[in-house]
């Protein structure tokens, strides 16, 4: 049971609320591929929900155009746009049984009753809520409500499914379960879907591509792994990833082929030489290897935590430079143990120290010693 997939083209869409200093959307251009599950990720106030509302037609754009497939929908109101929205709250009509809520939209659109019944049976079977259809929303659990809301959205076979932080109100365990159900459902129905979230883990987990927004603009649109490996700037590098990325302000040492931290205590030696004299070095904790311990090292174990069965160490120099590294839990290091580190240069990223933009610099294939 596949729905017809359309792509969505968003072309230079802008939106400014009255009395707001900054535009909520500032010339957003984005192509959503047919059948894609795209996560719209960003901190609160970044404009992601506004973009969703503009896509749904609930709010109008000040500027720019939007196409669903070949159809220009810019001036078409929400009720005639063939979109379905799963909202964060108020997912179902409080005065109707789940069945009536789910059937509401297709009934308005004059879909024959038998066909509606068939669709409801299919979808609710998939979502394991077929036995709850005669209950009211307040008579089922939060997770069941969420499932019913998804069924409600899918039953009208929208060209575009929009989800606004649909799982933010349920507990972590259920959220993970609903997420993986959503991915399966998307495989099954293939509806073009935009999923708004501020949770980067969620975005990375479920989506084909992630569009990251900040201050009403798109920062980067990429596949999750690409986003993780090649973030366009230091802000994004820090925003994605469960553990924050290490960003060390460094400069070229007098000898010319190594990088030194500002306090001069750490010297790192990338393989490549073509780096600027000053840069911010970004390395994720899992790409820093704690290699050996020698009492001469300026780095010592400052704190340690257990993270998903691994050890996360915060290493610190006397001057206060900190590096976070993840390491297996077989051989746990004591606090204050002196350590050396090696950077996996294939995954090291160079950022411009003033703008934070990623620099096209290859630091790879080098090893680092600490002197």
């Amino acid at each position: 049971m596949k729905t017809s997939n359309v792509g969505v083209a968003i072309d230079a869409v802008s939106k400014r609320y009255k009395s707001a200093k900054q535009p909520a959307l500032d010339g957003v251009t984005l192509d959503i591929r047919p059948g894609e599950l795209l996560a719209l990720l960003g901190p609160s106030g970044s404009g992601k929900t506004t973009l969703l509302n503009v896509l749904s037609g609930l709010e109008s754009a000040d500027d720019g155009r939007m196409l669903f497939g070949d159809q220009d929908v810019t001036d078409i109101p929400a009720e005639r746009r063939s979109v379905a929205v799963v909202f964060q709250s108020s997912m179902l009509y409080p005065h109707m049984s789940l069945r009536k809520s789910i059937a509401f939209a297709p009934r308005l659109n004059k879909v024959p009753d038998a066909e509606i019944e068939q669709r409801i049976a299919d979808i609710t079977g998939w979502l394991h809520i077929a036995h709850l259809l005669d209950r009211r929303p307040h008579e089922v659990s939060g997770g069941e409500r969420q499932r019913a809301a998804i069924a409600k959205a899918l039953v009208s076979r929208p060209a575009l499914l929009l989800m606004d932080e649909p799982f933010s109100a349920v507990d972590a365990q259920l959220r993970r379960q609903l997420r993986s159900e959503l991915v399966k459902l998307h495989r099954e129905f293939g509806t073009t879907t935009v999923f708004v979230t501020h949770d980067q883990e969620e975005a990375m987990a479920i989506s084909d591509r992630v569009a990251v927004m900040r201050n009403g603009r798109l920062v980067q649109v990429d596949e999750p792994l690409e986003l993780y490996r090649s973030p366009v700037n230091a802000w994004l590098a820090d925003f994605v990833g469960v553990q924050p990325i290490n960003v060390l302000p460094v400069r070229r040492s007098p000898s010319g082929d190594t990088l030194q931290t500002a306090d001069g205590e750490l010297t790192l030696k990338p393989e490549g030489r073509a780096f600027p004299d000053v840069l911010d070095l970004g390395v994720r904790p899992e790409h820093i290897k704690i290699i050996a311990s020698g009492s001469a090292s300026p780095l010592r174990v400052y704190t340690r935590e257990v993270v998903s069965g691994q050890m996360k160490y915060t290493l610190r120099t006397d001057q206060g430079t900190e590096i976070v590294a993840i390491r297996g839990s077989d051989d746990v290091l004591d606090i204050d143990t002196p350590v050396d580190v090696a950077v996996d240069w294939r995954h090291a990223i160079a950022f411009d120290s003033t703008t934070g933009e990623r620099l096209d610099v290859n630091l790879a294939k080098g090893t680092a010693g600490v002197s």
């Binding site: 609930l58 009720e79 108020s90 409080p94 939209a105 308005l108």
Partner: protein, 286 residues
């Protein structure tokens, strides 16, 4: 809850029940008693010789007294009967018009993002702080000029000044309590703004709106001050002042009691019919 606490609570509830019901029950019993029995014997609850004569005489017929002598129709019958009809007409009109004005206003104040929303609500609700007496003189002068004195329309307008703010206040809190994205969901489902209101918001708040209508009706039915000052002695006189004049001019408690019971019936029936809606509605703060 401990047994002792439960017993105390039940006793208190029983006391409240007796406090409320006893006077009404007594009025009912008095209305079923001959004046002779009521006036001559010591106070007792159940009539020895129960009768509907007081009611029959109110409805313009003669009826036999305790000793078989025929009593003429009650002289106040026409006044009470036209009072009941006027009250019903006024209360129904007030109910309908209150809903027509208050529901959209409350909806807009609760659900539409606009400037001066809070100020608007406060202004409307603040008029409730005025006791009706404070506005009677201006109303009276105005009505003399406009020819609305002694008319049901005039009384309807006066009652609306009481019910509309009350209903707007109630309605705003009801509509405000609906889930935040309700209309947006309806829009996405294919409803226009108007259809979202009629197909989703109204059915979703039908309990609250029933309660609003009942309260409008009861407020108008019970209203005394305006009715007394504007319409006493006219053909538009409603039940409360009619009963009041009967009470002060007729010294027959059994007859007054039967008129009182007639006036109690409509609100009693309405309250009973709709009690399950009223119960669901949070009236705290009203």
């Amino acid at each position: 809850m401990s047994t002792r606490r439960r017993v105390v609570l039940h006793l208190l509830a029983l006391l409240a029940l007796v406090w409320t019901i006893a006077p009404l029950a007594w009025i009912l019993l008095i209305s079923l008693t001959y004046h002779h029995e009521f006036a001559s014997s010591t106070i007792h609850l159940l009539p020895h010789q129960p009768t509907l004569a007081n009611y029959v005489r109110l409805f313009g017929r003669s009826a036999a007294d305790w000793n078989g002598t025929i009593q003429p129709p009650n002289a106040y019958g026409p006044l009470i009967r036209s009072g009941l009809v006027n009250s019903a007409e006024v209360a129904v009109a007030v109910t309908v018009l209150s809903m027509v004005f208050a529901v959209p206003a409350a909806y807009a104040l609760a659900r539409v993002d606009m400037r001066f929303r809070q100020a608007g609500l406060l202004t409307i609700v603040a008029t409730r702080a005025l006791p009706p007496v404070a506005t009677t003189i201006p109303f009276f002068v105005l009505y003399q000029t406009l020819g609305l004195s002694g008319t049901r329309l005039g009384l309807v307008i006066a009652h609306l000044t009481m019910t509309v703010p009350l209903l707007v206040w109630m309605g705003t809190s009801f509509f405000g309590g609906l889930p935040p994205g309700l209309e947006r969901m309806a829009r996405v489902d294919g409803c226009s703004r108007w259809r979202a209101f009629t197909r989703v918001v109204v059915p979703a708040s039908r309990h609250a709106m029933t309660a609003m209508a009942v309260i409008a009706f009861l407020t108008s039915w019970d209203e005394f001050t305006f009715a007394l000052i504007f319409n006493t002695g006219t053909s538009a006189q409603t039940f409360p002042p009619a009963l009041s004049s009967m009470f002060f001019q007729v010294s027959v408690p059994t007859e007054v009691a039967s008129a009182t019971v007639l006036g109690l019936l409509p609100p009693l029936v309405i309250a009973t019919l709709f009690q399950r809606y009223i119960r669901k509605v949070n009236l705290v703060g009203l």
